[in-house]
Amino acid sequence: MLELTGLLQWIYNIVAGISSSLGLPDIIRDIALMVLIIAAILAFLTVMALFLVWWERKVSAHFQDRLGPMVAGWHGWYQTIADAVKLLQKEDIVVASADRKVHFWAPVIIYTVCLMAYAVIPFGKGLIAADLNIGLLYILAITSFTVISLLMAGWGSNNKFALLGGMRSAAQIVSYEVPLTLSVIGVVLMAGTLSMYSLVEAQGPYFWKWYIWPQLLGFAIYISAATAELNRTPFDLPEAEQELVAGFNIEYSGMKFAMFFLAEFLNMFTISAVATTLFLGGWQPPLPGLDFIPSYIWFLGKSLFLVFVIMWFKWTYPRLRVDHLMDFAWKVLLPLAFLNIIITALGVHLF
Amino acid sequence: MTKQEIEKQLQQDFGDHIEIQETDQPEPYIYITKDKYIEFCKYLFDNPNLAFKFLFQLGGSHFEDKFEVFLCLTSPEHHHEIIVKVKLPVDEPEINSVTGIWRVADFFELEAMELFGIKFVDHPQPRHLLLIEEWDYGYPMRKGWTGPDFIPMPDKSKSAE
């Protein structure tokens, strides 16, 4: 199998060749390359979102001792595609008293923000769209935009329940941002850099050098805080259908609803990808001898495993009540995160 | 306490106001007059030998010449049961409410009110329980009630959300 760096090199050569033969300046060549890379990432993410929806349904079904979608293709693989087509042709109903602009831009923002985070995720050896030297900070900043989108969704629907749901979501996400950010500081201290690509390289070629071992506490805090960020059970009170009927996305129908839904799944993959990069060694194989399997396969495998773990949480635990949720963020995760930083700093200083 | 003991005790304390119905059932069936109703119920509740703390059910019945309100009381402590009945006149069935003694009587009395038309004076929150708010087709559980052939939908302008 061809290592994609070779493929990337080849594409670069073709594009460079075309642009130089047409006598275009370098900037056009760079822009053309960027456009191609973005198109590739978007294509990958679209497929990934659809895949994850199908996978969630299968995983949950097997946890519950049943089979899940079986009719649409082999084990229902194109079920999600069928659902997406159905949602695309649904009528877009907007409540007459809703604030149209706000109502419209909420799903757009959440989906855009979701996609923007992938600019700095290292998919494999040499496969990163933009290796910003503040890559991690960029991701953390971008993912906090979801709060704005949820508040817009709750407000724009002009509905008591949606507003309640939106505000609860916002409170939850903002509270859990703090331990989330603090939990990755341990990793940054150990690697000494914020660039996503260098963070992967700083974790050595052997799996015992990955940051999950010294940073077990940080990893646990990260996964808990991230599940809360995603509004998934056990932290999914804002979208608890059984209680206040779907929360902030109650008034959305058709493709706009699908946007929220897909954004949640893509966010799940983002969280797992970041966790893989920071704690599980990114695209590196566990032992150097295993690098005949391409790096992007390792990356995908590790990320999907973490996605599976997050799904596992959803189908096992009941949900926390709002005040327990807040208690957990501020009284449990936050002190533990600080503890983690102190211990890591001491460790880095002494060894 | 056995049936005979309960009947004897009630006869002692309430002599002329009660009437014991002869049955071959193991529980005593007692008729009480309307004016001693609340006092009797309080007595059944408070008396330590009787201790009828659990109101099992309360309902109405419609006969040709009277209405009856019956209470089925049980005692979780002594494991005995009693059925108390009150006769009410057919044209003006009114009686006091026992929600002050057993709070569970609330819904039972609401049901009897709307299905039989028995008025429970000083009930804390009289309203429709099982029938719709706009019901004005009589009292369904009375004998000889005939429903109208066609029941129109309630006027939409009245039912504001």
Partner: protein, 373 residues
Amino acid sequence: MTDLTKEMQLSEEEFIVNMGPQHPSTHGVLRLLLKMKGEFIEDLIPDVGFLHRSIEKIAENRTYAQFMAFTDRIDYCASMPCNLAWATAVEKLAQIEIPERAQYLRVIMTELNRIASHLIWLGTMSLDLGAFTPFLYAFRERERILDMFEMTCGQRLTYTYMRIGGVSKDVPAEFYQRCKDFTKDFRKKVDDYEAILTYNPIFLSRTKDVAILTIEDGINYGASGPTIRASGHDFDLRKVHPYSSYDKFNFEVPLGKNGDVWDRYIVRIQEMRQCCEIIDQAVEGLPEGPIKAKVPTMFRPKAGEVFARIEAPRGEMGYYIISDGTTKPYRVKIRTGSFSHVQLMRHLCKGWKIADLVAIFGSLDIILPEVDR
């Protein structure tokens, strides 16, 4: 509908939330009007009657045997105990002796249905609390019970299995082994359900010390069955006034200590285990004999009244029948456990949050057809 909201005087910070009648977490069609202050519930008015089918009025136009089919529908999740209640009441009125085999069969079916009903309760309560998986596990076990019922009487939900004087059909030969296999597996499955929920910290934080019901309040509000046993009140009709040969079986009555939501949960879980005990003993000791006493087709009990009650899964179910000597009863009054428990909601929910409302409602195991009849 607007009249009810006038009942609740609102101060400035309070607002009314209307839950239902269609709502995924009220089990059936129940409308709850909540007077809320922020996240806390100040007052609650239950608006019932959406499922009122006037069963009591219908009873006045059906013979005693015909009415048996209607009793199933009073609580369709626990249809056998409903049948049993009616049969017990009528047999008490006419003083009919039931053959022993019929009594044992009635016990087996009632206890199996008690397990099935508690499984529905378990599934829906954990679904409301956000644990999606026990719902499907519970329904998987329930399928096995429904298969056994289908083997016996051909129906999966509303059985009309019992008759005045006995039962309608005898169990086939495969039933015994099926039943024994089921109870053996089921005990392990209950351990599984407990492993997911009982000591889970999230579940505990949502149910421990929530909505504590004292015994005195409970009795005053007419709470019966597992709801009041969770508060520590040792009263089970199967032990205190045994009917249908329950006195021949050895079983414990699980009691709670605090009367909170967790206790109401644990009492029902342990009741499921005790049901297995009873079923095992009944299947072991099933005597030979007729399955129905001889009752005339146009059954005419003598004029009189009767009051009888049994222990149904959701509380005590009782009948008060006035008979005038004809083939049809004069007045039938049905009392179900859920009718009283709905009134208990108002008392229990004051001061708790909406998220707790769902947990409390689940723990009371209310089902609306019982309330509305």
